[in-house]
Symmetry: C2
Subunit: 328 residues, 2 copies
DNA sequence: CTGAAAGCGCTTACAG
DNA sequence: CTGAAAGCGCTTACAG
């Protein structure tokens, strides 16, 4: 691809690169450049199909209009939708995205973060798998523009946006009780230390009528099917009559498992965090705690860009959005 | 983020930037640089936590180790998985991804392509929404590294990887017949001109026992629910007894619609292109034509990188993978 | 109103 | 064995 450069435009017009740069960046009037000259430049730029080299530009001014996004797994529908929302808002604002997945691997996350920073991203939107905020404390110390999304850290002075997981989980348990469930069990997922998951577990525990009933199954994130199958097998012989799933992947695995037998569990009532389309058509019916994914994604971008644009006035924010109970 | 540069290393060691660059790029021995000097350089680089600025590097050598990926919609599970496969292979090979969505909007696709090229991506993996290969013919003419994935163009000398859509669709129709279906209808989706969809339609038409039975519903991609609801309502009064869905989104919409009534259609047999988890738990059972998504994604990356690395010897390839019928 | 020059951080001939 | 210099394409003081 032979692309036109500033130089090409300048030479073909007999003006300097500096002038062309100024005009094309909308500083023509401000710098009092002849209107006719400005027109000529713009015309020629269009004619040569000029597009500025963002990396040369980035190298010079230290901004690349690129936002890094790191999530655990984009093929998880929750993160897929989140990335979509982020992408749409970013596109509107003129930013590109570099999206990467960690698959809950802290080593990979470390590498990705330095890779991305190294690629001169202007800022980072992160759904972190780290168990400790210290892993990213250097970013905070260096004032690197960072927004935590979905997963946050306590007492960490960095912009974040998430949902009220504890309340959402409590709402789920109360719903189960209201439907006659006596003993609800919680299916959680590894890594259990990420804020969203641990808060949901706390919400479950806090909402239990009798702490004696507390029962948690921890399903490994990279082997959900088997973990769920084992848990369900164990439940068969017990008197738990409700299941709270901490995320949609768990609920989906339960549905699959139930569809191939486990008749004795057909009467168990299920509710899950994340509202996904599958629940509309699933049998048994699965109620859910729906998250405002779009708002979360768009707002993350807004927070980040505000941080770029107003580094001085920008106030660190911790936004917490409400969830909605969807009864089925 | 104050990052260490070549200069920092060079100065603190009293050597030149050139030497440092050579050593760090593994050309120390080749250029006969003193082993001890090399060691010192590497140590200091580690100590200062040096990471090269990829964009300065890219500006200089014209490569950025970044691959652009453009798909219609990453929140569609098919493309989500495809991107995941692409990401995994790219990560292994040391490449980053810039992923963007077109939402089937040709204008946006045009803009994204020039944006990405402009960001010095080394190559592009594209699932195009264009109705005409001429839209990207300039890329081909300029020898820009490009791999078409999922959606291809006929008689277009550019690497591509896709599945045998026609045969897959035919297989689906034959399966319906084998299960006693007499008159299968096809639910297709807009834009209907993209290769994958049009080939599936051709497969459907070609496999019909009686061309008189041909019946197509064209569902708009941005209003699937309503389109499907209308189509199903119309079907109620007719004698079609099988449905072939050209993709998973259509099938999911049918499942939802059926779950809220339409009893008279419960006995219709359904098969869909794309095998998704939902089908395992869905009622009615939905058979499917499964695509080798992982292979498609990984192979796209391989093709692209081979193109970079061996620009001379690289032969244009059009890979077509087989689909698999999943009976349910 | 416009241009010449410096410099962002890197790599690569070229010279010794 | 190593260094000085040029240049990738851009923007921005500075000068006139």
């Amino acid at each position: 691809m032979k692309k036109a450069s500033l130089k090409d435009i300048a030479e073909s017009l007999g003006v300097s690169k500096a002038l062309v740069s100024l005009v094309l960046n909308g500083k023509g009037d401000e710098r009092g450049i002849n209107r006719q000259t400005q027109e000529k430049v713009k015309l020629k730029a269009k004619e040569l199909n000029y597009i500025p080299n963002q990396y040369a530009r980035g190298l010079r001014i230290g901004r690349t209009n690129t936002i890094g996004v790191i999530v655990p797994d984009i093929s998880n529908i929750f993160y897929g939708k989140l990335c979509k929302a982020i992408e749409q808002e970013a596109y509107l604002r003129g930013y590109n995205l570099i999206i990467s997945n960690t698959y809950e691997d802290a080593q990979k996350e470390k590498k990705l973060i330095s890779d991305l920073i190294n690629r001169n991203i202007d800022g980072l939107i992160l759904a972190s798998s780290f168990d400790d905020k210290n892993e990213i404390d250097n970013l905070r110390q260096n004032d690197f523009p960072l927004v935590l999304v979905d997963r946050t850290f306590e007492n960490f002075e960095v912009d974040s946006i998430s949902v009220s997981n504890r309340e959402g989980a409590a709402k789920a348990i109360e719903f189960l009780y209201s439907k006659g469930v006596k003993k609800p069990v919680c299916f959680t997922i590894s890594p259990v230390y990420v804020s969203s998951i641990s808060e949901r577990i706390q919400g479950y525990l806090g909402a239990l009528k009798d702490q004696q009933d507390a029962k948690l199954f921890q399903i490994p994130h990279n082997n959900i099917e088997e973990g769920v199958a084992n848990a369900l097998a164990e439940l068969k012989h017990q008197d738990y009559d409700g299941i709270f799933c901490v995320n949609n992947n768990i609920a989906k695995a339960i549905l699959r498992e139930l569809s191939v037998g486990q008749d004795s569990l057909q009467n168990i009532r299920i509710i899950s965090f994340d509202d996904i389309e599958v629940f509309d058509i699933a049998n048994p019916k699965i109620s859910s705690i729906s998250q405002p994914i779009e708002t979360m994604g768009k707002k993350a971008v807004t927070l980040l860009i505000d941080r770029f644009d107003n580094p001085e006035e920008h106030k660190i924010q911790h936004l917490v959005l409400e969830t909605v109970l969807i009864e089925r």
